[in-house]
Symmetry: C2
Subunit: 340 residues, 2 copies
């Protein structure tokens, strides 16, 4: 079992190592922190911590470095995150307050978060949730090519191309447009999926084939709401912290370009009430991110749907500070998007 003081020692080891990037030894600890005991005692505690695999020595007779397990214990012990400074709160409000649309809100959010944390920031687009169909538009791009546009009352807009269609005239187009809008307008997306299949039957035979295609296309758009998109900012911060990665940052950059991977990773993280979830180092091994940690929180969009946002960086990061930033931004975003 690790003593209370040993945990305190772990804490300062993590803090000092994160701050200085250098293995920390017993002597530095007693110098920089007032433990009221001698270096030798600290050494005994460190032996305990090493026994439990919370810290490790990069090479014999050098200072110690936290292991992933050590970071985990450290993070789990963090309970009272101290709030942001007034200036930082101010920055969030002024920066996000000027957004013009959802795209803009999220773009600004990730830029802000990456600046607050000096890490890569990620945000997931909110899913449709219980949105309703606001309007359906069918646009002719070329004689045989159409685009369908689906607008929901949560402000999301989806487009889809259709090609290789024949025999559609202006009258038919009007008929289709009217029929789909009539049938779908105001319906929830869940209902719309059902309704869609019945529309083609009500269309004049001459255009029924096209109607079926359009229905299929819209169906895909409705279905597509689940595979959300992701916005990202601050990838340059990875280059700054490059030396925290054993090899090149190439695999890390590759991994974060794969949005699918990140969405899956986000999806696996369980966020407890109002908090921030943390995945550390090897816990992300399967995603090609074994040397990075991910912090995530959730925000609520106007439709009531919950989406994720967070930061990603080297295992050696300032967890305390970054958790505060992620939580604060998530909360503010929820407030901003709330139906006020």
């Amino acid at each position: 079992m690790v003593s209370e003081r040993s945990l305190a020692v772990l804490r300062v080891i993590v803090q000092d190592y994160v701050a200085s990037r250098e293995p920390v030894g017993s002597k530095t600890i007693v110098e920089r922190h007032s433990f009221g005991v001698s270096a030798a005692t600290i050494r005994n505690d460190m032996a305990q911590l090493e026994e439990e695999e919370l810290i490790a020595a990069p090479h014999t007779s050098s200072g110690r470095v936290p292991t992933d397990k050590g970071y985990r214990v450290f993070v789990d012990q963090l309970t009272d995150l101290r709030p942001l400074s007034a200036g930082q709160r101010q920055a969030i409000e002024t920066f996000l307050g000027q957004s013009v649309d959802l795209d803009d809100v999220l773009a600004r959010t990730v830029r802000l978060l990456s600046q607050l944390t000096n890490q890569v920031a990620l945000a997931q687009y909110p899913s449709f949730g219980n949105a309703r169909v606001r309007h359906v538009e069918i646009v002719v791009l070329a004689p045989t090519r159409l685009m369908t546009v689906l607008i929901t009352d949560t402000g999301r807009v989806d487009q889809h191309l259709l090609d290789g269609l024949h025999g559609l005239d202006d009258a038919g187009l009007s008929e289709l447009r009217a029929a789909f809008n009539e049938a779908l307008g105001g319906q929830s997306l869940a209902d719309a999926t059902q309704t869609l299949t019945t529309v083609p039957a009500s269309i004049a035979p001459a255009h029924r084939a096209i109607a079926t295609e359009v229905a299929r296309s819209l169906g895909e758009q409705v279905a597509a709401n689940r595979q959300d998109r992701l916005v990202m900012a601050g990838a340059a911060n990875l280059a700054r912290t490059e030396s925290d990665f054993s090899g090149s940052i190439f695999p890390v950059l590759s991994a974060i370009e794969e949005q699918v991977t990140l969405l899956q990773l986000f999806g696996e993280m369980e966020i407890d009430d109002d908090g921030v979830a943390v995945r550390i180092g090897h816990e992300n091994e399967g995603f090609g991110l074994g040397e990075t940690s991910v912090l995530a929180s959730g925000y609520t969009a106007s439709g009531g749907s919950v989406a994720r946002l967070g930061v990603l960086g080297p295992t050696r990061m300032d967890y305390s500070n970054n958790m505060v930033a992620v939580r604060a931004v998530a909360r503010y975003l929820t407030r901003l998007l709330a139906d006020d």
Copy 2:
């Protein structure tokens, strides 16, 4: 003046250096290429090239490396770019052919291009050009918050949020929706800007204030068509080629996150008929990209508007190969987007 053979020597120096990343000496040249002369002669030619500042020696008595000026001469001499292999053509077609909408086309394009070149690939969204208004939608997100959506017949969709509005009921909303669609539908964007200002006058006084706001919002959307967006892929390739940059890749990554910068850079590049423009090294100094080269070509979108696409990478890159890839993808994209 540089002799004909000296230029040939420059050519092989560039090729060998790009391939091996090592300064190339006179001996290696005669070994690997059949010039029919001895190393000493090559040395004389190299002295000529050095005189003209086309090559330089990293340190006394080591092989030579092309200067930016050397790359420039090399690129300008490239005339007959040999076409892509059949397999690569096939890859382009199958990969881009499955796209579902414009977002998807461009996302696939940059991914493809970054794979073909092993560099960072960029593509600019086509601007509205001479598009026409297809439909205007006004969506209520919350009692005092609206979203305006503008759809054009080129398939572009723009959204904009409005906040702090009061006194809008369902009837007013219908009136606005009808009035704006009636007034704008089918108009070119240039005309729409004028028309917009006249709409509020036709609205019942109770909603005129809101109508003015909506008109302003739509006006901004029309205006926003000129500041285009950019998509990007393959940033990880920068990490792969990291050693080609003198310091860290941090400044480079920072620079390419600034889309404004890149759009400006693209804007400054003049693309001659059906070709590929190249900016080398220090020519991009002002953009914080003094150690990178940018290749760009243009493609034509359905509206007839021309947008840019290209790749960015370290000065030491395979210009020949990459120019071929950029040109081929640009051409295919134009064909794909053409009204066929």
